[in-house]
């Protein structure tokens, strides 16, 4: 869905720590920036879940966490060609499963 050629595949400065982090990551909120994942399910009330699905957060879709607003504000997620910002508490309700071909992918 997302052309791979446009990303630089690289390890971060502390790859071990990130991997350990990823191992336990269960929701979008816990993922490090650039870590691709597959959305598994949304644990949110219907209207909000529906809005999120309309914006691209459909189970089975690839999601990539991007920039976080300064000072721990909402975070931008790349999903299905667009970017959507969510607060930490919303992202923590979006459960993920491991990306089949994922290693650390850091986006330019």
């Amino acid at each position: 869905m997302i052309p791979k050629g446009s990303y630089i595949v690289t390890f971060r400065k502390k790859p071990v720590q990130h991997r350990a982090h990823h191992h336990h990551a269960r929701t979008l909120a816990e993922l490090p920036t650039g870590q691709r994942c597959i959305l598994d399910h949304l644990d949110l009330p219907e209207p909000i879940a529906r809005r999120l699905m309309e914006l691209g957060f459909v189970p089975g879709t690839e999601v990539v966490p991007g920039k976080r607003a300064p000072g721990g504000g909402p975070r931008v997620f790349r999903v299905d060609g667009s970017e959507v910002a969510l607060r930490h508490e919303t992202a923590a309700k979006l459960f993920i499963r491991r990306h089949p071909e994922s290693d650390l992918v850091v986006l330019s």
């Binding site: 459909v58 991007g66 976080r68 607003a69 300064p70 931008v76 060609g81 508490e89 330019s108």
Partner: protein, 655 residues
């Protein structure tokens, strides 16, 4: 707003029930609905097709706005275009989705069912946007599907096979760029053909179950595959800019710099133009006095109408400049980033990042701000934002602030060339409004508007260059609204004040202001406002400014135009001494108000909700008088106690 441009009769622009076109398709004008998700370029296309031949209107009973316009076709026919609210689906959940749904299904008794639909989608984001095609095609209306931003798609290496998509969807598909104007011919062709197509509904195609979002997306994905859609590479520039604008250190600094630059430029850039206009109004007033024969009519025309309206029109450049900046921020995509940066801070006051957008617009005018709160899905957050929006220093306060500050605050330097005392006071009033708003929001959100839903969802549009075309359309629109107000409400108040100030007649002559009707009204309320340091003349101004804040400037212009001989203290007699007022009205008001009283008056205007338009729009948006009345009362209480405090503190320090 009345007619956008003279000449043609405009009665048919809005198909309201009374002038509803007859149902025979050949007799009535053809109505085409423009539908699309938010950020798909719907409004840009609408503007391109209609130019200035458009009107903003509300559907009766609901708060949702739509725009109607006429597009002139190449075969000299005209079609009506209606720009419906942006939606992701036709699942009627939010009010604007309900309206789009009802209009398209012909369920609104006050609005005829459209004859055709133009569906506009973002071609760079087709995977997601194509989903909307399912419910639209399900309507069975002749449909044109536009894939917008073709230039962007090509530039970023994406592609789509239009012919294949056309076959799959069984309707017309065109690749366009609404911003650049490419592919507009295809729309013309479609619109010209609408009348012919009316009798032959398009063949049905197989559609997914509409309320099942995952199924619909699957359908869209399959469609995209069959049309060999290749999504474009991610917008590199957006990424790069985001890494600057959302940088942990640079981001907030740029945010502050942008906000400060906006305010700085409104005051420094607009000043010369405003001074020029002010002098023009004053000297043309003198010229009128010389040219016209001496009569009560000359006085009404010069002192009542010309000075009353002129003193308000002077502020047009400043207001337009503010709207220009907000327009640039919004169209470029920065405003969404600003909302993101502001979110954490706003959350501390119980609000959210999305409140930032309406609150920033409230610096221009509370009316569009209250309407802009619709981006906030959470009802309680939205109400809280509406309640505090009028505390932001709107442009209508500027005339009042500028007049009082110029008249009373000496032009002393505080921080070298960087900040002068008048500028500091002005800034202080902005900060006062903002801080008070923050406190009120906190109080409301922890009492009557407490909510548990803390979700925040905001789509980040890619950065784009704002186009001159859309910016100028915005400005023309704002200028029309402002001048219309000056030409109606303010003109009317100016005439009323002049009449009240000239009656009852004494031996065929106008009475002193003190013994006129206006004077006795002012004197009646004087006891109530005396503790704030205001006399009866200011009282007249306060009463008239209940309609709109800036009216007080016109009123005082009329009152003092009556009382003093304007040319004697006109701008020709500018004095150079520090703190000495340079214009007639400033000099005149100086005789009637102490500096402490002026400061109290500034605080009063910072807090009081003297604006019918705001009350009306809040009533409409909240669906009743409860909230606007609450808002008016709490703000009046703030204004009264605030200015009482300010008067006493200022009196203590100034003596």
């Amino acid at each position: 707003m009345s007619d956008c441009h003279g000449g043609t009769p405009r009665a048919g622009l809005l198909p309201n029930p009374s002038i509803r076109p007859p149902s025979a398709p050949h007799d009535r004008p053809i109505i085409v609905a423009i539908v699309g998700p938010p950020n798909s370029g719907k409004s840009t296309l609408f503007n391109r097709l209609t130019g200035l031949r458009q009107k903003v209107a509300n559907f009766p009973g609901v708060t949702v706005e739509h725009r109607m316009g006429k597009a002139k076709l190449k075969d000299n026919h005209e079609v009506f275009l209606v720009d419906l609210p942006g939606v992701y689906s036709l699942h009627p959940r939010a009010e604007d989705e309900q309206v789009t749904h009802d209009v398209l299904k012909g369920l609104r008794p006050d609005f005829p069912k459209p004859d055709a639909v133009v569906l506009i989608l973002d071609s760079t984001n087709l995977g997601r946007h194509l989903v909307l095609a399912a419910p639209i095609l399900d309507l069975g209306l002749p449909t044109l599907v536009l894939l917008n931003m073709a230039d962007d798609l090509a530039a970023r290496g994406g592609k789509v096979d239009i012919t294949a998509l056309q076959d799959e969807l069984n309707c017309n598909v065109a690749l366009i760029s609404a911003a650049k104007g490419t592919g507009i011919d295809r729309i013309q062709q479609f619109l010209i053909g609408t009348a012919v197509r009316l009798n032959s509904p398009p063949p049905r195609i197989e559609l997914p179950v509409l309320h099942d979002v995952p199924k619909c997306r699957q359908w869209a994905a399959t469609l995209g595959k069959r049309a060999s859609y290749r999504a474009p590479a991610p917008p590199l520039w957006t990424r790069r800019l985001d890494s600057v604008f959302l940088h942990p250190v640079a981001g907030p600094l740029i945010f502050l710099a942008v906000v400060m630059a906006v305010f700085q430029s409104i005051f420094s850039w607009a000043k010369p133009v405003m001074d020029g206009l002010q002098d023009a109004v004053a000297s043309s007033g003198v010229w009128f006095t010389h040219v016209l024969p001496d009569s009560p009519w000359r006085s009404l025309l010069v002192d009542g109408v010309w000075k009353g309206v002129g003193s308000v029109v002077v502020f047009l450049p400043q207001i337009l400049l503010l709207f220009l900046f907000i327009g640039i921020l919004e169209d470029s995509g920065y405003l969404a980033r600003a909302a993101l940066i502001a979110d954490r801070t706003m959350a501390k006051f119980g609000l959210q990042g999305k409140s930032f957008i309406p609150l920033l617009s409230a610096y221009a005018c509370a009316v569009p701000a209250v309407m802009a709160t619709r981006v906030i899905e959470n009802k309680r957050d939205r109400l809280a934002t509406i309640m505090i929006a009028p505390l932001m220093t709107c442009s209508a306060r500027l005339p009042v602030y500028t007049l009082l500050i110029a008249a009373f605050i000496p032009n002393r330097k505080l921080l070298g060339d960087f900040l002068s005392l008048p500028a500091a006071i002005m800034l202080g009033l902005y900060i006062l409004g903002f801080l008070t708003a923050v406190v009120i929001a906190r109080v409301l959100k922890s009492s009557i508007l407490k909510s548990r839903d803390t979700n925040f969802i905001l789509e980040m549009p890619p950065y784009r260059w704002p186009t001159v075309r859309s910016l100028s359309l915005r400005l023309v629109d704002r200028a029309k609204v402002f001048l219309h107000r000056a030409g109606t409400v303010i003109l009317l108040v100016a005439i009323c004040i002049w009449v009240l100030a000239h009656l009852p007649l004494h031996n065929g002559h106008a009475p002193d202001l003190e013994h006129s009707l206006a004077g006795s009204i002012g004197k009646t309320i004087e006891p109530a406002i005396k503790p704030l340091g205001f006399n009866w003349k200011i009282g007249i101004g306060l009463i008239t400014s209940l309609a709109a804040r800036e009216v007080i400037v016109g009123t005082l212009g009329t009152i003092y135009g009556v009382e003093i001989d304007e040319p004697a203290v006109s701008s020709a007699a500018k004095t150079q001494a520090i703190g000495e007022p340079s214009h007639g009205l400033e000099a005149a008001i100086h005789q009637d108000l102490s500096t402490a009283g002026a400061i109290a008056l500034l605080v009063f205007f910072a807090y009081a909700l003297q604006c019918f338009s705001t009350l009306a729009v809040v009533k409409r948006e909240t669906g009743g008088w409860r909230w606007p009345l609450f808002q008016f009362s709490y703000m009046l209480a703030l204004a009264y106690s605030g200015s009482w405090l300010a008067f006493h503190i200022a009196s203590y320090f100034l003596h």
